[in-house]
Amino acid sequence: MDKLGDDSQGALAGDGIAEPSAYSRREFLKKAAGAALALPAAGAVVGSAAALPRVKVGEAAQPYAGVTLQFAKAPFGTDEKEVIAKLLAPFEKRTGIKVVHTVIPWNTEGATYATNYAGPNPYDVSYQTSTDLTGLGTKGVLEVLNTSQWLDAPSFASTKAKFIPNVFEKSTYQGKLYGLPCIIGGTVVYYNKDLLKKAGVATVPTNTTELAAAAVKVMKSGGSGVWGYQTPMTDKDFNWYFQYHNIHNWGTDIISRDGKSVTFTSSGNMHALQTAVDLILKYKVQPPVGQYDREAGVSLFEAGRIAFLDDEPLRLPVFRSQKLPFAWDFVAPMAAPNGKRTIFSTTGHWVMASKSPNKGAAWELIKFLSSPAFASPFGAHYGWAPVRTDVDTSKGDPQVKRINHYVLTSWDGLPTGPKMAQLTDVYGQAIEAAATGSKTVKAALAKAQVDGTNILKS
């Protein structure tokens, strides 16, 4: 078991960018639909070069002067548009490229990108996660990047060598890479030290068995309205995302290595899901499905009513800025009882539309977005881990450093594939079925196996 750890409220590295407010995919749809639909203005201008473009550019020469690139991204925070505009300013000044940034809500990104890429003027550069990357790529709407023109160009070789090999491997489908990996993340378990102390839990659990035991103690001592553990459990809140590390910890996946069959009914998957379901139905340390959505769960943690909260690192700056009225910290997600402890997240990629009329300029933008000049402060602001050895998103911040350490030492991502969005949804449905008690774990995963097999056949 780990010790309870440092008080998290002390350390806060300033990055010159305002703290983001509480934010997530759900909340974005609910609270910022108007802002999300609004077409943004262009980025600001001023700054200096940092990425190393193939074309050497002097201050006076702007090789892409007059070029406007349409850029789209689902946001990590309400302030993201301003953050990106600030970071892109030097790039725009140096290259003469005007970047028009459109914010795409998380919950509608599938539909938005489908309709946009079907049209004649798609976003030149956008952000895609490994869930959707290959689905779009295999339709031919995204440029294949691992070619001698782009990623495999001799001039890019030294930069390419700085990427973590694992991210290329996870993001490549049938030899084709449709996006340049830029971000990996994960989930962490935030915990309320005061509640643990009150319950007599001296050390932080490291695996799911210890977690259940600690959460039971908290429930006994915490009083009315206090819960031991919370993680999103509905398909609506992307429950599969928060359970995937369990699957990896049990040494399995939902799809075979060759991508030809689904493996929902593997013994590892049964154990992984049973462990998650037991926290709700057996130990009753987690609120029943539907009682609190993801945001409500986070609010309960902020109110001191949750002992362990499994959520993304992007909550870190929010919790810090709110100065929560109790001592708290975080650890890596719980290991399986056998001790295997991984951290999961999808991979974020910068992609280029195959129909883009300005591919040269788009590649320049992608290179800049991937470079330390952009990726370091951007990752630092939202708590994401880097995918390049020359990118530092911690800026000396011990907590972000710790997250990066978890991610870089134990990250196990989502294998990309054209049907992954549908397969993860099937897994999400299975979690819901089992966690609501509508089906047993075995029956829920058996149905997922049938549905998944049909999906792969289609």
């Binding site: 609910k30 639909a33 599938g110 539909a111 489908a114 309709t115 890429y117 079907a118 689905g135 779009l136 339709k139 031919g140 709407v141 509905t234 398909d235 609506k236 029943p288 499905v289 539907g290 009682q291 609190y292 959505d293 409500a296 054209p418 049907k419 969005a421 549908q422 949804d425 449905q429 819901e432 079925a433 609501t436 509508s438 089906k439 149905k447 549905d451 049909n454 056949k457 289609s458």
Partner: protein, 320 residues
């Protein structure tokens, strides 16, 4: 203008049967063309935005792709795949349950309120306005309002339940209750419209018929059953057709409130179509499901009109 006088002059102006046929044909043609020109502003958009997409969807249901990539003909494969997809069956069941519950509830309540407003007219405009306001709210907003109404901790429903000693209910964790919440949200939203619709229908019922029934000794409930309901029937059937068409397409409230959960218990047909088309890029399956939805709506509409027509036919034959 010179006057036409005498047999000869008249004969000279008369047309031969052949000429008359030609002239009348030209006239009819001119009239038809003019008529069609008047129809054009409606017919053209109808053709472009409704008829063509319907046939295009039907064609794409036999293809793979078609939005992001080129359509590839796959025969009946999409139909076979959605035929064996349990989520579609569940979605049809959920939609049917939702449509029956929503129409029954909203019509019962709307008719009840319309009867009250028809009887007590003083200040009724204020009530009409109050009833109509929810309809002005976008469906997404209605969804958000009901998210708060059904909230576990501070929602209105749970507040009432705890006050009367029943205790809190996890509404969004229970499939039946989650579907019922969507029904209630839509009833709340549509109540004003249907109340005004029934009120207008009630006000069209001749007062003399009700007076005659009163003179004959019919009580209130008898007058309602024997006079009001039979006279409202055509309007009621028309309302049912409209409500079926509208309710089978429920989506926004599902999207905001439950996104098909928990465990597909609120997955409706349009939700299924949306997921297939836009979430999973299974466009052929999405189009096939859309064609099924169209078929169901057409069938139910035709059935309603047939029922309406058969009643008229029976009434006519009885009178004869």
């Amino acid at each position: 203008m010179s006057a036409i006088t005498g047999e000869t002059a008249w004969d000279e102006l008369s047309l031969s049967p052949e000429e008359y046929r030609r002239a009348s044909a030209r006239y009819r043609q001119r009239r038809s063309v003019t008529g069609y020109l008047f129809l054009l502003p409606y017919f053209l958009p109808f053709l472009v935005f409704l008829v063509v997409p319907v046939f295009w969807s039907l064609w794409l249901s036999f293809n793979q792709g078609g939005i992001l990539d080129r359509a590839r003909f796959v025969g009946f494969r999409n139909w076979q795949e959605i035929g064996s997809d349990s989520q579609l069956t569940i979605s049809i069941e959920n939609t049917a349950k939702y449509v029956v519950a929503a129409i029954f509830l909203v019509f019962t309540l709307a008719l009840f309120l319309a009867l009250i407003l028809n009887r007590y007219r003083r200040g009724s405009n204020v009530f009409k306005l109050a009833l109509y306001v929810p309809l002005l709210a976008p469906a997404v907003l209605v969804g958000l309002i009901w998210q708060f109404v059904a909230n576990y901790d501070f929602g209105l429903i749970n507040l009432i339940l705890t006050t009367i000693g029943v205790g809190r209910v996890n509404i969004f964790g229970n499939g039946t209750l989650a579907l019922l919440t969507i029904v209630l949200a839509e009833v709340w939203r549509g109540l004003g419209f249907w109340t005004l619709y029934f009120l207008a229908s009630l006000q069209n019922i001749p007062e003399e018929l009700l007076d005659a029934a009163r003179v004959d000794g019919a009580r209130g409930i008898q007058r309602f059953r024997r006079v009001t309901i039979p006279l409202l029937r055509p309007m009621l059937l028309f309302a049912i057709v409209i409500a079926i068409i509208a309710n089978f397409q429920v989506f926004d409230t599902v999207y905001v409130l439950t996104q098909g959960g928990p465990y597909e218990s609120t997955s409706t047909m349009v939700w299924f179509i949306w997921e297939r088309l836009f979430q999973f890029q299974q466009t052929g399956q999405g189009y096939a499901a859309a064609v099924i939805l169209l078929g169901i709506i057409l069938f139910l509409t035709a059935l309603s009109f047939w029922l309406l027509g058969s009643r008229r036919r029976r009434r006519r034959s009885a009178l004869a």
